[in-house]
Symmetry: C2
Subunit: 408 residues, 2 copies
């Protein structure tokens, strides 16, 4: 078998374990010296690669250095939000494959979410069309957990653990005063409520806060919400409400748009922010109680403090599996997770056609949403609990702060 | 010696270690059965106590149960923001001391910040005036680190560790794209910039982000700020700026007020929010670059994930020392920290007159602030580093989430 080189990149928003997937790829590549020559990393994804930016892992992270990737959030290689043209005849495709040839690339792995799988789909289709021997595979990654044809995505477990533990702490904080108060916690998730759903894991017992949870899957009704909050006050002075940033009403208008206009990102998505702030003001004005809002913000995707050991190990496993699949000649596929059983929790990797996956979104099943759209049922708990299991010790520097691996 | 009971309360905003101080008090009280009978806790501070709400620690947290306090953020006893009247002839004082007598209280300890020390001062002055035998002491607590006559305050170290590690993670997140961007991180601190100063600990090396740090101690100049950001772009595409919520201009106008009006809390403080959001919009509008803002919010004071072992141990020590001082007949004092040396770091407890402390604020020395008011000098690093040292393992429940002790 001819010795070919491997090229791996990261794309889209970072997660706590996107570097664990990368570590899996680099580690497995190193185990096949008879088939894989160099392992290169694109710096800033396909966009940086087009500008000639890449690194050789042997030089960048020699020896055991790559182990630090397992506990480093963010994207070690840097990322991009670059959408390849729909037209496969666009000269950018030929340019890319010529660069692949120059570098002797036989295997191309791209770690990312929905939009990145679009890149994988296009490159693999171009490769097939032109008879290229380069295999192109996608490694799943997103805290949003919204990729179809996979039980869940690497990155979700750690983000869910961060959300659950942080909401549990916020509930303690909210409850210190003996006066009626509403705390709105705004959680990431544009169209899928998986991460907001994870906030129910924060409950220490039945009937504990968060008392109300609102996902984008269910149309939001502001008057019904205010009534629910008043009902909660009958049993608890402290009401913590978890809302997805993407909640919208029955007409499809985002609640954050009630407040202000929102711009578009480079993929044409609305840039949302502020439904928590809006609801805070609404509660104060209409119910006359103390209200505040907390936006969990980027720590959901970049905090290492609540890294889930299960998530980290699965991300690493997905990385390794991707290399094995590439060596097996697979192309145009995404590595998926197949749950074998809930108890004991058991998971295997699989392969799914990336053309089916890209630009689609998996949302929380409506049958899992209970309490007039304000709670999650047992099915969600069974689904989510194995994903947040296990604490990971983060190495520390001499000041006692997390020690991360950074690109030189 | 006559057997007297002890009464302890918590007041003001919670911290990660206010319960460690409480644990120190309860533990030390239990070591003097010949002098201290019952140890009671006021529920919701002096305000709840006036309504007859208190608990007996022997019933509430028997045996080893209280150990969980060491790793539980928030205020186990609940808190209040209740200001006693200035006039010591107000009937509330007689009412309180009658309640003390009914319960056989000989020792009163109040854990809190500036405003709580005002309560300690008034109660001890009333006690002295009326010849009461009840001794009244204050246990320091505040993430703001703004109490005078003490090297630092319990709660600051853990909050500083949270700020430093979270900013380090945000810097990773901010750097993943290869485009110019400004991330504004808004950090708690109304008038004192200690916590914002701690963000410089996030730097992994010289010249690393956060590149700019703004404290309330130095008047903020918006035009100078914009020029500084542009200067930063000359060396780094990613600019992370840490600002205190309380930054104000040379006329004393809070930057957050540029945006909107702010209300007053029950102590007459301005309720600030939003200078980060304001600066985000300013940067976008004036510099035309990608900008976002992150408000670290309540996790600064209620997260257990970055508990500093040094902070936890010192809070516990302060709690114990307070009981010993009370048994020694001290009253009208606050437990203070006296730093014996920086290297090796060595600390002892002391006592300071609480009348001198309450309603005053300790700010960051101007000589420690460098870089035209955008950075901190070596003095701050030497001061702060010992306070954030040491990781604490938080007990976990069966789901792998932090296990906290809660009042029944």
């Amino acid at each position: 078998m001819e010795l070919k080189n491997m090229l791996v990149g990261q794309s889209g928003g970072p997660t706590a374990v996107i570097n664990s997937s990368l570590c899996g790829v680099v580690t497995e590549a190193g185990r096949h010296p008879e088939k894989i020559g160099k392992c290169y990393g694109m710096v800033n994804g396909i966009e940086g690669f087009l500008k000639g930016r890449f690194l050789d892992f042997e030089e960048a992270l020699p020896g055991d250095g790559r182990k630090g990737l397992l506990t480093t959030p963010g994207a070690y290689l840097g990322s991009c939000r670059y959408k390849l043209p729909e037209d496969l005849d666009d000269p950018v495709y030929r340019e890319l494959f010529e660069k692949f040839e120059e570098l002797g690339i036989g295997y191309f792995l791209y770690i990312g979410g929905n939009d990145s799988m679009d890149t994988v789909s296009k490159l693999s289709r171009y490769g097939r069309k032109t008879g290229s021997s380069v295999v192109v595979l996608g490694e799943p990654k997103t805290i949003d957990n919204d990729l179809i044809h996979t039980d869940h995505t690497p990155g979700f477990g750690s983000a869910a653990r961060y959300v659950a533990s942080t909401v549990r702490e916020i509930v303690l904080d909210a409850g210190v005063y003996d006066t009626r108060s509403v705390t709105i916690v705004e959680i990431m998730g544009r169209h899928a409520g998986w991460l907001t759903a994870a906030s129910v894991l924060a409950r220490k017992c039945r009937g504990d806060n968060p008392l109300l949870v609102y996902l984008p899957e269910v149309p939001f009704d502001q008057e019904a919400f205010l009534r629910k909050v008043e009902e909660c006050f009958a049993v608890n002075n402290t009401v913590v409400v978890c809302v997805s940033e993407g909640i919208r009403d029955k007409d499809g208008v985002f609640v954050c748009e009630y407040d202000s206009d929102a711009g578009l990102d480079s993929f044409g998505h609305k840039m949302l922010a502020g439904c928590g702030k809006y609801l805070e003001r609404l509660v104060r004005a209409r119910l006359g109680v103390k209200a505040r809002s907390v936006e969990l913000n980027v720590s959901q995707r970049c905090s290492a403090s609540m890294l889930s050991a299960a998530d980290q190990q699965e991300a690493f496993m997905a990385g390794r599996y991707g290399v094995q699949a590439a060596l097996g000649g697979e192309t145009g596929k995404m590595i998926s997770f197949v749950r074998k059983s809930d108890a004991p929790y058991s998971l295997a990797c699989g392969l799914e056609d990336v053309d089916d996956i890209c630009n689609k979104e998996k949302t929380v099943p409506l049958t899992w949403i209970t309490g007039d759209g304000t709670d999650l049922g047992e099915e969600f708990l069974i689904y989510a609990k194995p994903l947040i299991k296990g604490n990971v010790q983060i190495p520390e520097d001499e000041d006692g702060l997390p020690l991360f691996v950074c690109r030189k």
